[in-house]
Amino acid sequence: MNASIPLLLPFFSALVILLGHRQLKGAAVLISVGSSIISFIACLALLAAADDKTNNQLLLPFIDVGHFHANIDVLIDKQSRGMMFIVSFIGMLVHIFSLGYMKDDEARPRFFGSLSLFMFSMTGIVLAGNLLMMFIFWELVGLSSYLLIGHWYQKASAAEACKKAFLTNRIGDFGFMIGILLLFGANNGNVNLFDLETAFKHGGPLALGSPGYNASFTTAAALCIFLGAVGKSAQFPLHVWLPDAMEGPTPVSALIHAATMVAAGVYMLVRVSFLIEASPLAAEIIAGIGCGTALLAALMATQQNDIKRVLAYSTLSQLGYMVMAVGAVAMAAKNGHDGAHAAEPGHPAMFHLYTHAFFKAMLFLGSGAVIYACHHEQDIWKMGGLRKHMPVTFWTFSIGTAALMGVPFLSGFWSKEAVLGVAFDSGCKVLFLMGAATAALTAFYMTRLLIVAFFGKPRTESAHHATEAPMVMILPLAILAIFSVISGYDVLATPLQAMKPPHVEGHQTVLVASLLALIVGVGSAIFLYRGKDKDPISIKLFANKFYFDEIYAVIVRVCQDRLAWIVTALERVFVDGLIARLPTAIVARIGAATRMLQGGHMQGYTFLLGGGVIGVVYLVVYVLPRLGH
């Protein structure tokens, strides 16, 4: 099956819709949804395709200069196949969900156009056969994210949020590009993923231990590339954009800011895991950052009141998990846990990514249904008792929550086991302990959310009058709920070929720790929140997200705006002054002075004339001959 269908179909859909949505009106929606469905079918077919690593399929030429080729070519292997399935599947469901959710929005065609653009870009990242192509689509998902977060651009908060998201991602891309440049330089101008892997794998010219190996370079390259993932996957310290991104319509949050785009960073890291494995230091840093993000975000989530923000911090936290897994796998590989790493048959980060995609998308869509039902009310303390009004939503939401918390036999349980397992194997106990703590916190804040929003009695009018969402919204929820349950099992893992890592079972310590975390988390949450009308605990530090936004605001003001002001002033005074105004003034002054010679007085003229004669004679007779002329 040609991979160009899922790539190009959304592209044309986006193009047609964005350029002509005035004329298309309702047809735009159909085009977009239709293209997502067809893409999904194509991806299903793709699942059956064979690995194609060496001969990348050339889709489009892009840059072709001398020995350098950077083309739009695709790399089909188990990772891209699996990821394609996730992306197109959840994408399709979100498209369908949006049919209902965005029904009343006037700018619906624009929304669907942007959604198609996103599908195109995300597919591009997944299929990318080389880093440059990945970077291209990397930026494009940034654009579509920008457009979608800013869908309600009239709202100042949305306008600011989309800007923030784009700019924060830009900082990540800054690093990503440097990384690409370093690899480009080191690998003789070749950034094909497969060729890079060959170069970095055993026996390759850049591999650990080979004469061409340079530790600091490899670390630098790995960390630069990782910076890209930090931006896109919203890792500390660039995590600040993701909670704000919840300003976008909820289906967008589900698709982009939970299931797929933010996971692209993890996907990319897994793609370049050979690089991370080549640099132990980088692996440790990556694992540390992932772990730190997971814990920080979980702490912040405990004190959020906006339903979507809770989910957003939860996403952050889970992404931290995945990133930690990437680092941990590399560390474990060094420690000799050979089976843990690599590819066969799966990577724990990817495993968690897949399962997370299903249940988190489902949670977001669920929250969307809730928000929709409550007339765009997002504060959980203004909900309550929704369990009765929205039973389907409640049940699906509960399944998602359970899966996220890692309740045994749900998908999240398996994947979290895998992540904690590899953290355990990494040899760094801190990672494991922090991971377990995060798990406990996760259980805590999700239970809190469920209790406050769905149990008890309605605390506001809108919650009171909430009714179940329409079918187009329920259906995707249900489907995703099913997948949230089964995606940890071979039913799905086999066709995706990439799912369950072999050692999920068998780590006693890990199993005990995660169960313990679950029980502690759920228990304390029930204890604290059951039947409460307002938050019984208030931790300012967590509620205010560790004041990151404030600190960053100061940094931006000082390092950018104030600096810009100073530089502008200096530029005006010195550059313009020294290069332009001073010489002009000097010339003008000289001009004015020479004009004084022309005073109109004849005596002056005769004096100058006579003086000129004497001067010339002096020059010619006495000066020049001595100068050796």
Binding site: G591, L597, Q598, L609, G611, G615, V616, L619, V620, H629
Partner: protein, 490 residues
């Protein structure tokens, strides 16, 4: 008919016109002017047809005159500028007559013919005596012409200044000739060159003489620091006379300078390198002193005077660069080329000024405001003239400057080149200040200004010359190329 006959005929025509005016005072100035023009045009035609070699001259004149390429070029040049000046006089007549004796202009038509003859003789002079008498003929005629609009205080003042300073420079010139003669024992250029190639010649005396002589000639071509008279005199003199001074007199000065320098700087000359250095210094100084004060001018006529000084600077720099195997043109050829390009642009500028004066406008920058609205064609032509004076590419003015710069670079005279470049850059400023004024629309209501067909034709021809010389200079270069062979052969 020999060239000399034509020159003499021209002078006689000048005298004849005077006589006609004296005995038939009511003859219209138009008739007089057109006769003078016709006579000069006829002279030009005859000159073109006449044989162009020294042997064709009458025997008695041959020791003093030569007809080399340079001479032929400058003679033709003198005829052309005379025709244009006569035409310009006709254009300016309506307001000039207000300032002249009894409202007459007869001498304004006859004296230029005599001046023209004088300049033509200067062009072919072989010795300093001939130079002196021809130069003085021209100078004294100009004393009269500058002060001609004697009822105008400006014209009179210009006359006085030109007179005193001119006489001073004549004194310097003669003193210089005396010392050159003393040092070399001869006054013919060939003899001087020969003597200077002789190491026995007293170098100090030769240096002193040539320096003083160059000072005297420098005055005529407006070289710094002998240029102070130029702005005052150009501004005060009647516009046609200014044009004549600026183009004709300057060209004549330069042809003499070229000949003198050919002698001073001939191969093996004991003073060649000093003179070259002097020229570089003076040339650079002239270019700068012409450009810098011009920045603040509000009188366009005075601005053109400064521009004329600055152009003299480039020409002096061109003279400093002796023959190089890499150019088709000798330094004299470059000067000639430059002057040929300088002619149409300067005359066009002055023609514009004259037309404006004749239409009741002044010569100030503010009078130029809105010219594009009054008469777009005139504005376009003036733009062309100023662009060319500034040295904008694709106009005649650029190539001349380019040759000068090329020569300087070829000789490695970086200091002088830098000064020239600064001067040229400043030039851009003041020329385009004027151009800008022409296109400015805001401000006063502007009555239209109409041109006669004949004026249009003359101005158009000049503009065309600017463009053609700017984009297709090959023919002109071909004419001047012959000269280099002669110089090299010498």
């Amino acid at each position: 008919m020999s060239v000399f006959t034509i020159e003499a005929g021209l002078a006689i025509l000048g005298l004849a016109l005077l006589l006609v005016e004296a005995f038939k005072p009511d003859i219209s100035r138009r008739t007089l002017g057109l006769t003078a023009i016709a006579g000069t045009v006829l002279a030009l035609v005859l000159f073109i047809l006449a044989p162009h070699d020294t042997a064709s001259l009458p025997g008695f004149i041959q020791p003093w005159h030569q007809l080399d390429g340079l001479a032929i070029f400058y003679k033709g040049f003198a005829l052309v500028i005379t025709i244009l000046v006569l035409w310009l006089t006709l254009e300016c007549a309506p307001y000039l007559t207000r300032f002249t004796l009894d409202g007459k202009l007869a001498e304004m038509f006859s004296l230029p013919l005599i001046v023209c003859a004088g300049m033509m003789w200067m062009a072919s002079a072989r010795d300093l005596v001939t130079v002196f008498v021809a130069l003085e003929l021209v100078t004294i005629s100009f004393y009269v012409l500058v002060a001609f609009a004697r009822k105008s205080a400006f014209s009179l003042e210009a006359g006085v200044k030109y007179l005193i300073l001119g006489a001073l420079s004549t004194g310097v010139l003669v003193y210089g000739i005396a010392w050159i003669y003393g040092a070399t024992g001869t006054m013919s250029f060939d003899g001087i060159a020969k003597a200077l190639a002789n190491p026995a010649t007293s170098k100090t005396a030769a240096l002193f003489g040539s320096a003083v002589l160059l000072c005297g000639l420098g005055f005529k071509v407006a070289a710094a620091p002998f240029h102070m008279w130029v702005p005052d005199v150009y501004q005060g003199a009647p516009t046609p006379v200014t044009a004549f001074l600026s183009v004709g007199s300057k060209a004549a000065g330069f042809v003499v300078l070229t000949r003198a320098l050919d002698a001073f700087m001939s191969a093996g000359s004991i003073i060649g390198s000093e003179i070259q250095a002097l020229l570089l210094v003076i040339g650079a100084l002239t270019a700068l002193l012409g450009s810098l004060p011009a920045m603040f001018q509000t009188s366009v006529k005075r601005l053109l005077a400064y521009s004329s000084i600055s152009h003299a600077g480039y020409l002096l720099l061109a003279l400093a660069c002796r023959e190089s195997a890499r150019f088709d043109l000798s330094s004299g050829g470059v000067v000639a080329f430059y002057l040929a390009t300088y002619l149409p642009m300067t005359v066009l500028g002055f023609l514009g000024l004259g037309i404006m004066r004749a239409n009741g406008l002044g010569e100030d920058l503010k009078d130029f405001t809105g010219l594009a609205k009054r008469n777009p064609l005139l504005a376009l032509l003036m733009t062309l003239s100023f662009a060319s004076l500034a040295g904008l590419p694709l106009t005649a003015g650029f190539l001349g400057k380019l040759f000068v710069f090329l020569g300087l670079a070829d000789h490695g005279c970086w200091g002088a080149l830098t000064c020239a470049v600064i001067a040229a850059a400043t030039g851009f400023y003041y020329y385009f200040k004027t151009v800008l004024a022409m296109y400015t629309t805001e401000g006063t209501d502007v009555p239209a200004l109409s041109l006669s067909t004949a004026t249009k034709a003359v101005a158009g021809a000049l503009a065309l010359a600017i463009v053609i010389l700017g984009v297709y200079p090959k023919p002109l270069q071909g004419v001047l190329k012959a000269d280099k062979a002669a110089v090299v052969a010498k």
